[in-house]
Amino acid sequence: MTRPPLPRWLLVLATLAVLLAAVPLLGMAVRLPWADLPLLLSSESAREAALLSLRTCALSTLLCVLVGTPLAVLLSRSHGPLAALARTVTALPMVLPPVVAGLALLVTLGRTGVVGRHLSVLGVEIGFTTAAVVIAQTFVAMPFLVVSLEGALRSVDARLERTAASLGASPSRVLCTVTLPLVLPSLAAGATMSFARALGEFGATLTFAGSLQGTTRTLPLEIYLTREADTDTALALAFLLILSAALLMAASAVVRRAVVRG
């Protein structure tokens, strides 16, 4: 369908938006020490930070899917003020400043925190461990999965679920063989976004987990710490993060297209 032409000024502003996103990336590409990239990325601290990021992000994404999916299913079936409250509370970390999220985690789960104090007595220390990194990442990343999945779940045709039940499928079976397969593209997209958010997590991690090499110093923390003393390494690691983000977006698009095509 053809539409009437767009105003010219719109083109100017849209171009400005593209430049805003692209120019910093180009600037980085120009400044990147391309030839030394393999060497820079194979340094001990860089390798440790990258592997730690990969491990913690995989784990936190898994956690997001494991508990975020049931939450999204429950929210998609719930109405009323209680559901609205639950929806707001679980989505809040999405808009919370990361440093505030980290502070909240610290005063709750830290050694002297409201809950952490009791865990400490039992010999469980969370603050400044890899577990703290995973918790911080899950805390901030989960809403991305829940929000995108809940919308998709609401649009699933209830008749299909009713038909499945009539054919003898138990509630678990309906969920696993009809409901979830139908929202698989959104689940994949949600998990990708959660992973990406976890990968970029900085503020909450630094506040709650600190910056111990090999234990809590993830890629963003490593970049922040090396950016002045060793700008080239910082840039190389930044390139690694950009590459990962781009790959994630591409993978998500491929999955979505594959599922749609059936």
Binding site: R162, A164, L167, A169
Partner: protein, 364 residues
């Protein structure tokens, strides 16, 4: 309800649903096919939801083949009943192949040889060749047949049909109706429909519901030949005229006379109604009794002054709906040519001539 004794313990629904003001009493002998007809919002869908187990009655009970599945104390959920549904929308699982769709039920119920069962059922509806297709690659008629195969693959105790042909085009519907008639014979079935053809082809028994209550029930022949409501009359294609019994016919509240030889048990003065076949009604733009149109046998009875309310052309024939002086409706089926040459249009005053030999009158 049935004139023959039921073959086994009946499927029986005797329920109240307060929120919908529905109170229904419906019974289907095992192996028989029952149609539920009635205007929109009469409670037909509620009956299906109750039978399927998607809705709990506030009081009363549902029995499937003699076993209580719903009562104030018990509620067997949908997935533990052997009740399957076929709706207007085939509702195939879009992420599964045709074969996996049909095998879904047998797998969910843990029946053995799920794929073999599925292939047998697909074959029975003539679609074995499409087993590996995806639902979006099927035509509407094919999808509906797959849905039927999927429903029957679990060997259900009760099959619920909710206007299964309504969404099909005119070519696919007769085909599907034939497949349904073939595959459902001898199976306990409840069908909701608006199409009189479905009644003849797919049902043995009918209940008529209106405002949440059963108002008439019986065999298809009984109910359609002796409609007890305007709705059923329209469904069966005849018009219904209410009035008072006379010695030799019926007088409408508007004073129009229908002259017919009365049936036995006829009591003059009592309430009565006449059923009129639209094909036995002629439409004249002038009063034939006042013209030289001598070939029309003219009698004050069976000559009804009316005003045209609507015209529905269907090829060579046109259905004319006319309103009598007392507001009752009478349908006439005339040639479209007659309608055109006489410039018939809504609002035109006409005289309806009824061929009395085809009119039936009934006491109320």
């Amino acid at each position: 309800m049935a004139d023959r004794p039921p073959a086994g313990p009946a499927t029986h629904l005797d329920c109240r649903v307060d929120a919908r003001d529905v109170e229904l009493l419906i019974s289907v002998p095992t192996g028989r096919r029952l149609a539920i007809v009635g205007p929109n919002g009469a409670g037909k869908s509620t009956a299906l939801l109750l039978l399927a187990g998607h809705l709990r009655p506030d009081s009363g009970s549902v029995r499937l083949h003699g076993k209580t599945v719903s009562s104030p104390r018990t509620h067997v959920p949908a997935h533990r009943r052997r009740v399957v549904s076929l709706e207007q929308n085939p509702g195939l699982f879009p992420h599964l192949t045709v074969l996996d769709n049909v095998a879904y039920g047998p797998r969910a119920r843990g029946l053995g040889r799920a794929l073999t069962r599925a292939r047998t059922e697909l074959d029975a509806v003539g679609l074995a060749a499409l087993a590996s297709r995806r639902p979006h690659q099927l035509s509407g008629g094919q999808a509906q047949r797959v849905a039927l195969a999927r429903a029957l693959a679990v060997d259900p105790d009760l099959i619920l049909l909710d206007e299964p042909l309504a969404a099909l085009d005119v070519e696919a519907a007769p085909d599907m109706r034939r497949v349904l008639a073939d595959r459902l014979s001898g199976r306990t079935t409840v069908i909701v429909t608006h199409d009189p053809l479905d009644l003849w082809a797919l049902a043995d028994l009918v209940v008529v519901v209106a405002s949440g209550r059963v108002v008439q029930s019986g065999t298809v022949e009984d109910v359609l030949s002796r409609p007890g409501s305007d709705f059923v009359a329209r469904l069966s294609g005849v018009s219904l005229l209410y009035g008072t019994a006379l010695d030799d016919g019926l007088r409408t509240p508007g004073g129009d006379l229908i002259g017919v030889r009365p049936p036995s048990g006829w009591r003059p003065g009592a309430d009565a109604f006449a059923t009129i076949d639209p094909r036995a009604v002629a439409v004249h733009v002038t009063n034939p009794c006042g013209t030289l149109d001598t070939h029309v046998s003219c009698h004050p009875a069976n000559s009804l002054p009316a005003r045209i309310s609507s015209l529905t052309p269907a090829g060579a024939l046109t259905r004319v709906t006319a309103i009598l002086r007392d507001g009752q409706r009478v349908d006439a089926e005339i040639t479209s040519r007659h309608a055109a040459t006489n410039l018939l249009s809504p609002g035109v005053p006409v005289t309806l001539l009824v061929d009395a030999s085809t009119v039936k009158i009934h006491p109320r």
